[in-house]
Symmetry: C2
Amino acid sequence: MFVPAQPESCPTGAHRAGSGASANPLPAAAPPSAIEAGTVTCSHAAALAFAEAGAASLHALHMLAGATLATIAAAAASARIEQLPRDARIFAQGSLARRACAVVTGSVRIVQTGCDGGQIICCFAARGESFGIAAMFNDARHSGDAIAVQPCTIASWSKAQLLDLIEASPRIAINLIGSVGHCLVESHNRVRELATQRCEQRIAHTLLRLAGQAGRDAAGHRAITIPLRRRDVAETAGTTLHTASRALAAWEKCGLLATCEQQLLIHDMPALVRIAHGDAA
Amino acid sequence: MFVPAQPESCPTGAHRAGSGASANPLPAAAPPSAIEAGTVTCSHAAALAFAEAGAASLHALHMLAGATLATIAAAAASARIEQLPRDARIFAQGSLARRACAVVTGSVRIVQTGCDGGQIICCFAARGESFGIAAMFNDARHSGDAIAVQPCTIASWSKAQLLDLIEASPRIAINLIGSVGHCLVESHNRVRELATQRCEQRIAHTLLRLAGQAGRDAAGHRAITIPLRRRDVAETAGTTLHTASRALAAWEKCGLLATCEQQLLIHDMPALVRIAHGDAA
DNA sequence: CGCGACCTTGACATCTGTCAACACGAGTGG
DNA sequence: CCACTCGTGTTGACAGATGTCAAGGTCGCG
């Protein structure tokens, strides 16, 4: 359409395979690209349950916000709905983007690996959010792996199906522009933070963003509902595991936050905001 | 639509005004938000010339790629087309996104300023590209200033007009998703580079990206048609003026590239690619 | 001539990535 | 049951890249 050529940087899977660095070879355990291969991993009973709940659960998808009931029904009819286990790979970096995906339940992380082995987490997709959209509409390849952080229910549509839905209800396209646009704005914020702020500040920003995206309020604290390893925090904040670990350990020590079963609980939001602003330097 | 709340980070104009850092107060010379205010700065003669050329020039816009002649005519009919001088501000960070813009001629840079005064260039928009889209479809505020790098011709539509166009031709929405999606992919690449690569590599990547986006081949070299100050390179690569200057000066010294009237000429692409890959460490 | 915008260069401090070692729990196989 | 491996997290020491501070140079312009 308007992408003149493959960009010069090389985050593609093909390159990655050729890299000698191999900081993170693909986990042999993960089934390759469940969605792409059409490998439905849900049990029969679960499938039935979700067929019933199907249209109902799609109501909550952001891409269908404001759509008519007829549109939602049409979307539900053409959607492929799958249940995937933790760590399943939904699509692979470098593969052609054939399907648009949305998270019905669970959460997904999009991981990009550079040809030098450097990894970052592009973003997390939480309940209701779409992912894998950007590449599809450019007829391009996915710029990262999509991995199920938790057991997930994922809805997906082929490009043709999605185009049909859009033709019938441009509202979906509007929503998708908003969705991708929101990611873009966040990404630009991350770029600025990476370019101009300290590690500590960036980690704080990362937590605040995640708390805003997938937070749940509880007794006196706010919990990030996406399970996070230290490594995830590091790769989202654009630093190393070591630095992230140090910062989080220090904050735990002074009671600012706590981790409980890979869930982060933020006890003192104002303090975190202050750190993010660089006030408490 | 689906943005729960304003993110915790604070790149908005309002914050910026309150910041004591003020590394870069707004240039007093620039007319405030020409497009927003409807301040048409083109001469009468120029206006006439462009009214004639109007529909013709819009053909080249990526957002109208593949659209029918009728659609393009409709777009041309509702578009506001303006000529802006160098350094004009097309919209301001923090202002409500009311109009979708596209570059007919010239080029635009989108600059984001953090509340701490930190600045980055989110992206450049070259001929044919759209900008200011992401924020508009989220009913949000612009995440950066849009500044004319050169004298520009800018087409713009109100949200209502654009929605009408999309209703009539969903293809436009598809193109816009692709456009925003392409920005997103590039932005993720930048995030990865910032998080994992050295300054030199990032500067090299920056130049390669710009050469791909707005390059012109000439006798034995490739020229970046967007005028670039050292500072622009630095803020695009996510480093300081000083470091960027050092790297570029060194590369000029060994004949890898040259600058001529703010135009960068790359003489040895393969070498630049090698540096970007980190081979020539 | 003075001033501002832009660029260059040098010296230095320090943040943070890298290397290394260790602890802990879960799973696995003997 | 034990030994072992693997993934994950923590901590310390250290070097080096790069931001910061400082000074000066060039060019265009009023």
